[in-house]
């Protein structure tokens, strides 16, 4: 579980910010409101966390608040994993 944030950071860097340094993508860097994740990229990220952590995210849970930062996504994953 400890690696959720790092997994997410690596995934977002690889998929949506190629070439960007990991140090520039902080736990609280805005993802949705900054445009790093558009709606299609958010859906890809949702699919990634579902497959990676064996959880199911409902449509209404993929809100801007739940997916706006790495720490928010981690909180959602943790709450789902119980």
């Amino acid at each position: 579980m400890e690696n959720i944030k790092e997994d997410l950071r690596q995934y977002i860097l690889d998929e949506f910010l190629p070439g960007e340094s990991a140090s520039n993508l902080k736990d609280d860097t805005p993802l949705r409101s900054s445009g790093i994740l558009d709606s299609v990229a958010t859906l890809k990220t949702v699919t990634f966390v579902e497959e990676r952590y064996g959880i199911e995210v409902e449509a209404h849970e993929a809100s801007v608040e739940n997916f706006d930062t790495i720490e928010a996504i981690e909180a959602l994953v943790k709450s789902k994993k119980g």
Binding site: G19, E20, S39, E58, A59
Partner: protein, 381 residues
Amino acid sequence: MDLELSEQQQQLQKAAIEFAQKELADDLIRRDRDQVFSAEGWKKCADFGALGLPVPAEYGGMGLGITDVIAVMEGLGYGARDHGLLFSINAHLWTNSLPILKFGTEEQKRKYLPGLSNGELIGANGASEPNSGSDIFSMRTHAERRGDTYVLNGTKTFVSNAPVANLFAVYATLDPKLGSMGITGFLVERDTPGLTVSRHLEKMGLRTSPMAELIFDNCVIPASNRLGREGRGVNVFESSMEWERGCILANYLGLMRRQLENCIAHVRNRKQFGQPIGKFQSIANKIVDMKVRLDACRPLVYRIGWLKEQGKSAMMEASVAKLFVSESLVSSCMDALQIYGGYGFMVEQGIERELRDALGSTLYSGTSEIQRNVIAKCLGI
């Protein structure tokens, strides 16, 4: 990445060329003018196996891997003149059969894939709407869950194959407020009450591939006809676009190769000012440009197959190929037309039809501008 076709792929391609040259050449000028889809050609393609190329044998298809499919498609593109029919086959395969194969339930696969592969069923895909084209996920067609059913309301436009199709893969939103997380895929049979296949749309090119609008007016479908999970239609749609962008282009590799060969033969034979026109450098240069484009296009298309066979995403590579190959095809047609002079302008020669057909390729499956946007996004810009 190995660009050489295996012996088996070479044989598949050769068979596709021979089949298309022999069986798909009938009466094209009239059919293109009168916008006639060839039901006979469709059946012949089914018998040849073209309608089930990537579909596993247990569902009635040939079970080929993507690189094999690309090799066959390249052969069909080389041999067939009727690129409208090939376009219809691509729409059927990549936006209907393949999504069912990848996202369908076992029941949906058993119910539809055998018929889609043997030519009994024709598939189509309704995503575009009058107010949602490039911005596809702003669609308004609405799906409401009611018990064991969904009720669809809305209009889809530019639906290739619609006038002849029996099965539609349709995308609708559960709630526009959910954005792309609300988009969901559905399978709708043609005779479902509440679905009307509306006016036939006349096109500039690909005229033997029929197109129409779909109107859903309280169209009730069983919940078991949902394709994939609720709110995951974008995954279904994007996956089919990735395949379509890759495989449809393989036809154009074949077409560009045939055009190049024909043009070389023509510039050797056609004499003006006492010498073959190929001896004029400005004509030879056009041939050279055609050759360079073709050689640049081929690896881009086969790279998609190679990546997908390794289970990797080919999102950006499919867009790179779609952008470059479609624009190269238009340039190749323009060069061929100029090389043939006045003869190229004549309907009988077929180049003007190929040019009209080619122009569609920079629009469908995402316009060139949208491909550039996808690539820029993938580069993190």
